[in-house]
Subunit: 338 residues, 2 copies
């Protein structure tokens, strides 16, 4: 590997500077991505066609100069493979025609052994081949609770109140569902590693709707099981909005903990200085002038001083961001020194 | 006033038990509300017809036995009166046909002196008359930043990224807009008090999308100006999701600080033990069995021990909640003792 900065940083080794990648970098902002996307029937065609997925995965390495490529895919391939297919509706997001309503719906779901998602592994293999050792490939999956949210609600939501209602009203069934998702996710991540990913991230995108008590009961055990059973490469957990869970996450089995832009790295670092942190520039800062982008990126870097750091935004890059601002963010980090 | 428990609690006086009310209690869950609502052309007719607004404001006092009535209205009457009318779209929420896009849009907005919202004051007067001293009436307004969010985005959003973009890209114009909203809100709240409210709450519903730095620059000065200029009755600030702003809010000019269900009262209490706290049962707990509702409500009460407390949910009650569970929550609090 010509550039293994992110692997060394994730393992907690001292690095010459913070490595940088951007959540949602493969897709959304690059004109080259949009051109390809526009020529296709839909989002799922891109996810399920390994050659095309590899192409958009490599674009940000070529164009933006990031230190790692994250495989172009979606966290919802797991419920899809387990028996709940989704559609991506333009301007609205994912939609599941069928959702989990009762115990028998959970019993019908498959625990996948991973083979169902061959197109993802093929895309990883093709990406590794095309990158030819330039930078590592990051794999990923959704956290079990976030996947449960979609399985119950069938779409995005501001509060995921139906999913939370389910945890309270059907705790036993919730655990049964989380078990099935967790086992499927472990099998899936192991095959991603076999196909060539050098690092993986678990996205708990809807963590912020819970509380310390619920997170401890319904999230941490499953997150830790994943990290413990999929441990042949370093890993990152990103629980957006879960300020109440930071103590648990900072003592979890993950190498690195991602922070959203609302979190103060100094405060989180103090909980456990040996844990690597990832993040956390507010992605809306990339709408500001160049001067402000550079200044705020440097301030962000300083706020992570005193321990291991992987530079990133505090949330996925927003679709209407000018890719040149993203490049400026990346270049600023690459010209910094630890 | 026969029951002035909430006023005494908000002032920081020791009370025989925690007073209780529920965010969104006037509307949403009661069959009596739904029946009336179904007979009308729309949400705005109810908001703008004082007799009807008073009727649904009093319903939860009669049926649920809460310690205060909150006037039935909407935070969006302010942008409406300032010159940006909204529509309430069934199943989707508020929508503004016109939004703020540039400085000249802000210049066109009125600073209201309050008189534009006569229907709200009339509804308050009618409510006070109907309650006849049984419980106090709570007035309210949206926090300036939350109103700005709607003025920029024109509708609800998961990230309010356009509003955040505005703060970064147009800080001067943002302050100009926040000034106009703040002055309008102050005039509005003063006239609510003149009409008879005994307490008011400022809702910063979208606070959670910011960060400590942004909150300090774009929110706290305006929130504090409201509390300082509208100080003839006690007040409560509720900044949902703003975990990063709790230190600032706990040293703010408000009598009481509302907590959402993700916040730990013990931790917040320690910041400033003399501040009154409000909250914070997870509203989805009201979907659990009666035993669990009683147990969790009592646990919640204990978590607020050691200082002033106004009992409430940690968010507005969700529309599909069984009103009997809400009553059980209220009865459990009323049968407790400090």
């Amino acid at each position: 590997m010509q550039n293994d900065l992110i692997i060394r940083a994730a393992r907690g080794e001292k690095t010459e500077r913070s490595p940088v990648w951007v959540m949602r970098q493969a897709g959304r902002i690059l004109p080259e991505y949009r051109e390809l996307r526009a020529s296709l029937s839909g989002f799922k065609e891109l996810v399920e066609t390994p050659d095309l997925a590899a192409e958009v995965t490599v674009q940000p390495v070529d164009i933006l100069g990031v230190d790692a490529a994250i495989i172009f895919s979606d966290i919802l391939v797991i419920p899809d493979a387990m028996g709940l297919p989704y559609e991506m509706i333009k301007g609205k997001g994912p939609h599941f025609p069928e959702v989990v309503k009762r115990k028998s719906d959970i019993e019908k779901l498959n625990v996948i052994n991973g083979e169902e998602l061959t197109y993802v592994y093929d895309a990883i293999r093709e990406t590794v081949k095309r990158l030819n050792g330039r930078v590592p490939v990051i794999g990923f999956a959704g956290a079990p609770f976030t996947i449960l949210c979609y399985m119950i609600e069938g779409q995005g939501s501001k509060t995921f109140s139906n999913a939370r209602k389910w945890l309270h009203a059907n705790p036993k069934e919730s655990h049964m569902l989380l078990e099935k998702i967790t086992t499927s996710t472990i099998n899936y991540l192991k095959l991603q590693i076999e196909a060539g990913v050098s690092l993986y991230q678990v996205f708990d995108s809807w963590a912020g709707v819970l509380s310390e008590e619920l997170y401890r009961e319904f999230c941490m055990p499953y997150l830790n099981r994943i990290a413990q059973e999929v441990n042949s490469v370093p890993n990152i957990v990103f629980a957006k909005g879960a300020h109440f869970a930071m103590e648990d996450l900072m003592s979890s089995s993950y190498n690195a903990v991602g922070l959203d832009w609302t979190m103060d790295p100094k405060f989180i670092r103090a909980i456990n200085p040996s844990k690597v942190l990832q993040g956390n520039l507010d992605p809306t800062l990339l709408y500001a002038s160049d001067d402000v982008v550079v200044q705020k990126t440097n301030e962000m870097l300083r706020s992570f001083a005193g321990g291991g750091h992987i530079a990133n935004l505090g949330h996925g890059v927003y679709p209407d961001t000018d890719w040149r601002k993203v490049k400026l963010f990346i270049d600023t980090i690459k010209s910094s020194k630890n």
